[in-house]
Symmetry: C2
Subunit: 414 residues, 2 copies
């Protein structure tokens, strides 16, 4: 007998017919009571957008965050009640829980709250009675009973938190894709589904642009060692398991090639090489809540420095303006920007054991005539910034060289 | 400085524009902070119907009551968040409360819960901070934290409960009519708005068919002596005050003429006049949750009895069937039914001081050639059952004789 937590997103519960299909899926997983199942759901697709439109109409561009959360949290509450009814119609006992009812306690940061604790007592009682627990994702309450929402990727995070609290055997994340792929199949038709991937690889892939899971929920799963199973809403086949590193049997040198064309680059030339300069530059950006991704510093012969960094493209204009203002204070030669960039990365646990992966990556790109502007590495990842127009070419070449050629092929410099 | 509780129904908050109009109304009542205001709202018109349709689609004809309540309670939660935002947009601080958040505790009878207690501590704190408390009507939670709804007229009852708990100066019920009228103005153009009416008169009028307030909320208001002010959503003019009897200055002999064409009559002939017979007849009806209104018994010369009673017309077929089955057990002559009836009533505190009101009513009806089938009286009411086709004629004649003629006219037999 197992304990399964399942998470279905807004598209999977987008209309009554789909809610019924989810109910049937849950019934199959329950296997006549053999398994205990807790289901975490999002608002029906379109529902949140409609609520946000109402909020803007009555609350203006920035409606009160507390009331915004009270409003949008009705979306999941609708889904849990409807899914419970659908399960009951199939003869399976079910009981819904709002964030408050399930004891999902968060901090008081409305619209982007962080989970503080989950008292799974009430959920466990329902499961022990043989019923399906149907839980509202994305929402909780703070210490004063105010309704909060978790922000982007919140429902995945809710599901992982529930799985951790219940010590579930698995947290199944249902999506409109089959699992985690070696790269975007729309760019590389030869992309293949991974059977297993480690939390750290998944974290890198998620933060580098693979959209199947939010970084936040993977971090949570890693911390509490909750095995994730990313699988399709449309069929019962196996998807991709995201598991602790020791459970990844086949340590691929490169398990994924990702790309991100939603960043922009800012270069500050002729920065004096003295303490406090970087702080003067980046403090205004962090105060403006602009997330700086890569930062590269080159010290020149004359003791002055070039500082290059990337920011989300949506924040580019603001970041450029802030950088220019800061630059005026600290006295630099020039501030230049470029939006037409792409970040292309390779990710793989096996890099830990193989040297020379980076240099082979550079050679593959050079072979395609692609110039590298910036480089950043971690233990299991190499990222490069290139001209945006080469992004897909670079992904295809790297996928062919590292994934399609297979892990079996000897690495030249290993 | 006053404390005002206001209640706006689904039509008053039916779309964003109307919610904004309600916000403006609340701001006027608040008078720049001079008054403290708590607002109780229903779901936006149409919202509940849409949710009920979804419930039927996924839960069938009788969806699980607990999940039904979890679903429909999202309707008011939407309204409280949106109205709070609208108030904030007008520069007025506001804070929303779901049933759970305001401490509205009910019993566990889903879809028709009864209020057990209201801990107004949280609401009072918000009011004391100078903010408007925006409260979800119609909903509460039971002792286990399950969401409950109060059923028909629930939002009015919520408003009265809040006013009682806060010891408010007034509970204002906003409607699409100006107030309480002497009769339905669509039937009698000379109908006039009452300035004041007692709780008991209002109770009689509500239970006799005047739709402006639900009996339940008036009972609650009477018990806790909460003055009600029934007034228009569309303009700021005075409506009708519903107050304790001692505050009604002008004790009209007849303050209202009501009629109800939604009942049916069942007559059981030749019932043996012995103990237990009535119980045999009415127990099955009450078990089937059919509400019996009037019951009239006539003892004949031969020791047998005719028993006539009225039931809601929607329950007529079921009631007739149950009566026939019971009649077969107790051995009666015949069971006859008639749907084409109307109950016409006159209501007035002044009847207590004036004899002969009933007989004058019978003479007025006889003067129009209307035959009376059943009669029922209380201290402040006389009701008669007549043929349905005479209902409007009877109302016009009684209104002319008792209301338009004025209380000043001497009553023949007083």
């Amino acid at each position: 007998m197992g304990l399964i937590v399942q998470k279905f997103g807004g598209t999977s519960v987008g209309d009554p017919e789909r809610i019924r299909a989810v109910a049937e899926r849950v019934v199959r997983s329950r296997a006549g009571g053999e398994n205990r199942v807790a289901v975490v759901v999002s608002a029906m697709a379109g529902e949140t957008d409609a609520l946000v439109a109402l909020a803007r109409e009555l609350g203006g561009e920035s409606p009160d965050p507390r009331e915004y959360d009270a409003l949008v949290s009705t979306g999941e509450q609708k889904t849990i009640a409807l899914l419970s009814m659908a399960l009951q119609s199939l003869g399976v006992p079910a009981c819904s829980f709002t964030g408050a009812q399930m004891g999902m306690r968060t901090d008081a940061s409305h619209t982007r709250a962080r989970i503080e604790s989950l008292d799974a007592h009430a959920i466990r009682r329902v499961l022990d009675q043989g019923a399906v627990a149907v839980l509202a994702g994305f929402q909780g309450t703070d210490d004063d009973g105010n309704i909060t929402t978790l922000g982007r990727g919140g429902s995945d995070t809710s599901a992982v938190a529930v799985a951790a609290a219940l010590e579930a055997d698995v947290c199944e994340i249902y999506t409109d894709v089959d699992g985690v792929y070696t790269t975007d199949p729309r760019v590389v038709p030869a992309a293949r589904k991974l059977e297993r991937v480690s939390f750290d690889e998944m974290l890198e892939m998620a933060s580098l642009g693979a959209k199947v899971l939010q970084t936040r929920s993977v971090k949570f799963a890693k911390r509490y060692a909750v095995p994730l199973h990313v699988r399709s809403s449309f069929h019962d086949g196996e998807g991709t398991w995201v598991v602790p590193e020791e459970e990844v049997m086949e340590r691929l040198v490169v398990s994924g090639v990702t790309f991100n064309t939603k960043e922009a680059k800012i270069r500050v030339r002729g920065v004096k090489d003295q303490p406090g300069v970087a702080a003067s530059l980046f403090t205004p950006l962090s105060q403006a809540e602009i997330v700086v991704d890569m930062i590269i510093q080159n010290i020149g012969d004359d003791g002055s420095t070039d500082l290059t960094f990337t920011v989300p493209r949506d924040d580019y204009e603001r970041a450029l303006e802030l950088a220019r203002r800061a630059a005026a204070d600290i006295g630099v030669e020039a501030v230049e920007g470029d939006e037409a960039i792409a970040k292309v990365s390779i990710v793989g646990l096996g890099m830990k054991d193989h040297a020379g992966v980076a240099s082979r990556m550079f050679r593959v790109l050079a072979g395609e005539g692609i110039n590298i502007q910036l480089i950043s590495t971690s233990e299991i990842k190499v990222s490069v910034v290139i001209e945006e127009k080469y992004a897909e070419l670079a992904v295809r070449a790297l996928h062919a060289a590292f994934v399609e050629a297979g892990a079996a092929e000897p690495l030249e410099e290993s």
